[in-house]
């Protein structure tokens, strides 16, 4: 039982990171109908910037302050990057056929990856051990205080985002643009600004997710955004892309599926589908969702926009 509980905890933790990254995909998709493939790489940039800042500051300051500065720098860099990408790569293509921005997104993704490889090199970088995490134990399962902190923070960010989109003026503008950008424009919503803001918001959440990945695994690499991005995209589709609570649900579910599948499928199938197929389960789920419920678990079917 303690093993089962541990697997659930592993899954929720992994899932909360997927969920945060998935938000970036889903918000941009909701508003632009564009899958921003570069989002995973923005997460990577956030992770590597934070790693560099922590390495540079070391233990010269209290740990929390170092982390705060690292996160703030990562968010600033990623927001700037998100805005630049939106301005230079996507905005000129807003009226272009949908395939054009999609291919551009792939190009931007590769550009960011190899720029990062130039700046940071291609080797794995390690996070200095600035914080000695304590252990929290319950029911025989254990997590570290860092992991508990990551999970709580992820949930807080998700709650704050939901609240923001539901209640604030900008949130209302975002929802209006999502429903129909042209009509929203006619109603006085500055859709260009709303779209730029959405990119910035997604990038800042992505940057925080990047910091979490670095804190969790203690290492970073220029290619790390690729798999995270792919999983988060799967999570977004699973929950219903374009739907913010759906991305959160999808992320958590995907984390749980991966953990439980890697933990139990090997024994259930007598070793035929063991842990070597862990990543496959995520994509099997994606295929099934696309076949059975193309709009995702929480998505609503809608016709093409006017």
């Amino acid at each position: 039982m303690d093993i089962f509980l541990q697997q659930i905890l592993n899954g929720l933790l992994l899932g909360s990171i997927y969920a945060l990254v998935a938000l970036g995909y889903t918000m941009v998709y909701g508003i632009l109908g564009l899958i921003n493939f570069a989002h995973g790489d923005i997460v990577m940039i956030g992770a590597l910037v934070a790693l560099s800042v922590v390495t540079a500051l070391g233990t010269s300051m209290p740990v929390m302050l170092v982390l705060l500065i690292a996160t703030a720098t990562a968010v600033a860099v990623c927001v700037a990057l998100g805005l630049i990408i939106e301005r230079t790569a996507y905005r000129p293509l807003r009226r272009a056929p949908r395939l054009a921005p999609l291919i551009t997104a792939i190009g931007v993704s590769i550009l960011i990856q190899y720029s990062a490889a130039l700046v940071w090199g291609k080797q794995y970088m390690s996070l200095p051990e600035i914080v000695k995490p304590g252990k929290i134990e319950f029911g025989g399962a254990q997590i570290t205080t860092t992991q508990a902190f990551i999970f709580v923070l992820a949930c807080a960010i998700m709650a704050a985002l939901l609240w923001f989109v539901k209640t604030s003026r900008m949130g209302r503008a975002m929802r209006a643009t999502e429903q129909n950008p042209d009509v929203a424009g006619l109603m006085g919503v500055d859709t260009t600004r709303v779209i730029a803001f959405t990119f910035a918001l997604g990038a800042s959440i992505g940057a925080i997710a990047g910091v979490m990945v670095v804190l969790y695994y203690g290492q970073g690499h220029y290619f790390m955004g690729f798999m995270v991005g792919l999983k988060a995209f799967t999570a977004a589709v699973l929950g219903g892309i374009g739907n913010i609570p759906g991305a959160m649900l999808g992320g958590l579910l995907l984390g749980l599926i991966e953990s439980l599948a890697a933990g139990y499928m090997g024994d259930i199938t007598g070793g035929v589908f063991g842990s070597n197929y862990r990543d496959v389960y995520a994509f099997i789920v994606l295929v099934l969702v696309l076949m059975l419920r193309p709009s995702g678990l929480m998505g609503v079917s809608s016709g093409d926009r006017a």
């Binding site: 992994l14 792939i106 590769i110 203690g218 690729f226 991966e258």
Partner: protein
């Protein structure tokens, strides 16, 4: 939401996945190869070219340059000693090429060395480069000695021209297995590999040995060489209560794995192969690295029979410390020269047969080859992380005293427990 668009998007995702995976595989394209040194030629002296092929640029450059330096040192020593072959004075010349640790580039470089008419090649560093290159050398009849490639397949192609001066993974896995049984007294063992040729091969060899030795393999799990999250498989393993976890793979996975073991409160010991016996493992795993065991082919460089002298010579010449395989590179050249001396010729067709008969004591110890071209009784050293550093624990000579006895050299058995225990 439009169903067709989503399906298109999903198709695009997979297309990107494949494209990016492919670019990631072949992404090592640093600047062009280093120029070969063209030494002035004295007309009356026969010039014999020795090739050196290793990564001189890119992330593995430090190891590749180390090998080339070893080769260069050997050539200079041989020239100083005024070696005579077949009664005539000769001069050796280095032709160093950069294979960028890239299998495709390795074949190009191999062809270049063949065209330059080298008498023998020391290289390559990576198994992935040595194996495709070996065909080109074999077709040209030029002997190749790898100072470092440990994949068993390298010498299994049936070429007469391939040799290596390190123990291979087929010897490393069983050595780790015996160490786990005899020294760590492991009874219940979990085995994880990274699903690469290297990692899985090592883990399979290890598993077979410990099973034969009476230990129980309670779990056999797999991951990939890109993953960093092992919580799920480690949690599963925790449920089986092993006293040892073996990992076949390299440091970017081994380090977070060791860390996550600690986070999950797994008390089992941790052991792996040369892929994780690196300073980087300790850097990435931090305090969690403490107590991890790993093996690496060869003796610790300080305790090699010719180690002290070689390290001093290397330091004096290059003003740098030996990274890893310079002594093997040095010895590989000496093996060529000894074979040439015995054959009385620098023609590969004449001295190739003599290489198989090598019985030479070099920097790394006694060198002799079996019929496949593998080093007989290549020693393997097991290390443990202690106080944030890899510390040599003991050196094991595979097959020592077994049916595969050393070829007539009493010194062939490497010193046991070479370093302090």
């Amino acid at each position: 939401m439009d169903r067709r668009l989503l399906i298109k998007s999903a198709a695009a995702v997979f297309a990107v996945a494949t494209t990016l995976a492919l670019t990631a595989c072949g992404d090592k394209t640093p600047p062009p190869a280093a120029k070969k040194a063209d030494a002035p030629k004295a007309p009356e002296v026969q010039v014999i070219k020795i090739g050196s092929a290793s990564p001189l640029t890119g992330t593995e450059a430090h190891i590749g340059i180390d090998i080339r330096n070893g080769v260069q040192l050997a050539i200079e020593d041989a020239n100083k000693a005024n070696v005579q072959i077949g009664g005539k004075p000769v001069k050796f010349e280095l032709v160093a090429e950069d294979d960028e640790a890239n299998p495709t580039k390795a074949t190009t470089v191999a062809q270049k060395l063949v065209d330059a008419k080298v008498a023998g090649v020391v290289g390559h560093f990576n198994s992935g480069a040595s194996i495709p290159a070996s065909k080109i050398y074999a077709d040209a009849g030029i002997p190749q000695i790898s100072p470092s490639s440990t994949n068993p397949d390298y010498t299994l192609k049936g070429y007469k021209t391939t040799f290596r001066v390190v123990a291979h993974d087929g010897q490393q896995g069983p050595t780790l297995g015996r160490f786990a049984l005899d020294k760590l007294k492991a009874k219940n063992i979990a085995v994880i590999d990274d699903a690469t040729a290297y990692g899985q091969g090592l883990a399979d060899n290890f598993e077979a040995t410990v099973k034969a030795g009476g230990a129980k393999v309670v779990a056999r799990e797999h991951t990939t060489n890109k993953d960093t999250d092992f919580k799920a498989i480690l949690t599963k393993i925790k449920g089986k209560n092993p006293d040892l976890i073996m990992f076949g793979g390299i440091d970017p996975q081994a380090a977070p794995m060791k860390k996550q073991m600690a986070e999950l409160g797994i008390k089992a010991q941790f052991i792996g192969g040369d892929g994780m016996q690196t300073p980087n493992f300790i850097k990435l795993a931090g305090d969690a690295a403490e107590g991890a065991y790993a093996s690496i082919p060869g003796l610790p460089k300080e305790t090699m029979p010719g180690g002290k002298e070689f390290l001093a010579k290397y330091k004096a010449k290059f003003n740098a410390e030996v990274e890893l395989f310079a002594p093997m590179g040095y010895d590989a050249v000496m093996v060529f020269i000894e074979a040439m001396k015995r054959a009385g010729s620098a023609d590969p067709t004449k001295f190739l047969a003599e290489i198989s008969k090598t019985n030479y004591t070099g920097v790394i110890g006694p060198i002799a080859f079996d019929d496949k071209g593998d080093l007989t009784n290549g020693p393997i050293t097991i290390y443990v992380v202690k106080g944030g550093k890899w510390e040599a624990l003991e050196t094991v000579t595979p097959n020592a005293g077994a049916n595969n006895a050393p070829k007539g050299d009493a010194k062939a058995e490497a010193p046991k427990d070479a370093a302090k225990k």
